[in-house]
Subunit: 230 residues, 2 copies
């Protein structure tokens, strides 16, 4: 039955209240068409909800610092994480009127908040912006397709793929500093926390990785990991 996180043992979520939607800073200068310059940076505390599934998609977001997870909770309580977003990544971009996933800060994070309507209006006039919106959506699509390929593999292959993905996104050489818990990783990979843990130890025993501290992973043998990534 693949049980992953059972939401919720009434943990202290939602410190920011149900609706954490900010009002974009009034005095944000109009810097022309650059997406990055629209909207206001906003802090979200660890585990704070940024938006909920089925809420109106009034804003989209760009990570300035920290990391974000998007997820969906199934009827039986299982949680599936759709994506992790790191500094520079844009999330919450929808074409429909509602968010299809929920979003939470994994650690204390700063997020640039951009009004969707402004961007969509701009796109109607400026085809550079229109193209950018399209490209970003297509990028999401590719990510999700890669995610599907992960989900049909064995536990080892999933974990190896995950580590390589993270490593590629945080170009810090062979050392990765994971912002997320084992539970987050498990819910992203469709595994249990125990299997993730065991698999990491296995990879460590075969000298493919080192795990100096639980959130820090050293890729010691990329060839081996790539072989698993198939």
């Amino acid at each position: 039955m693949l049980t992953q996180t059972m939401i919720h043992r009434s943990s202290s979520r939602h410190p920011a209240g149900h609706h954490a939607h900010p009002v974009p800073a009034v005095n944000s200068h109009s810097f022309g068409t650059s997406i990055e310059l629209m909207g206001a940076p906003m802090p979200f505390a660890r585990n704070a909800e940024i938006y909920g599934e089925n809420e109106p998609a009034e804003y989209l977001y760009k990570v300035v610092s920290g990391s974000i997870r998007t997820y969906k909770v199934l009827n039986d309580g299982r949680r599936q994480i759709g994506a992790f977003y790191l500094p520079g990544d844009v999330f919450g971009l929808e074409v429909g009127d509602e968010h299809t996933f929920s979003a939470e800060a994994i650690v204390n994070s700063k997020v640039l908040v951009i009004k969707r309507s402004a961007l969509v209006n701009l796109a109607a006039r400026d085809n550079e912006t229109a193209r950018k919106l399209w490209t970003m959506t297509a990028g999401e699509l590719q990510r999700v397709q890669a995610h599907i390929l992960l989900l049909i593999k064995t536990a080892q292959e999933r974990v190896a793929g995950f580590l390589l993905e993270m490593s590629a996104r945080v170009p810090m050489g062979n050392e990765i500093d994971l912002p997320m818990s084992r539970q987050d990783i498990a819910d992203y990979l469709g595994l249990t926390i125990e299997t993730v843990s065991r698999t990491l130890t296995q990879l460590e025993n075969t000298a493919a990785i080192a795990v100096p501290s639980s959130r820090r992973i050293v890729l010691r043998n990329r060839a081996a990991l790539n072989r698993l990534n198939a």
Copy 2:
């Protein structure tokens, strides 16, 4: 090891040769900006390749009749089907320059072939077209996200979800005429052909469905299926 289709037992694939790309009909009238009116309908035989992974994405396609599968083959030979496309569906739309999946006709099919460059050029001038391209990509994104949610479920839930999805897309009441084989279904759901077969029999035994012939399925108890779909 989740072995699914092992490509290839030298089956008679690719009857159309490696490159089946057509030249759009010369005399296609210029009917303005409507996407549907651009390009030429083209027949593809059962199991014919329409395009291959990593080929330049010169065209996009709209199913007129028949059905199409897109897929990727992993290094170890496993095949993952990314999507099934039915009449009216558009596939092969990429933002990057290359197709990320391969596409084949499941049965003899007719497909409208549309030159991508024409459409992209048009989108640069006509923001109605631009919006349509964006919307179609976003639709794909939602489909793939739903697919992910299927892949983390149990066999029963996957098969039930698949049947409901197909039923919603072919609004023929409670009767579905599947164009694809059990192997195709298995590779779409990340299961084996045996498990798909067994699961269908189970669903039949619990009176959730009927299977008058192997390609024809009757949804006899949607409530039960929806309960599984969770």
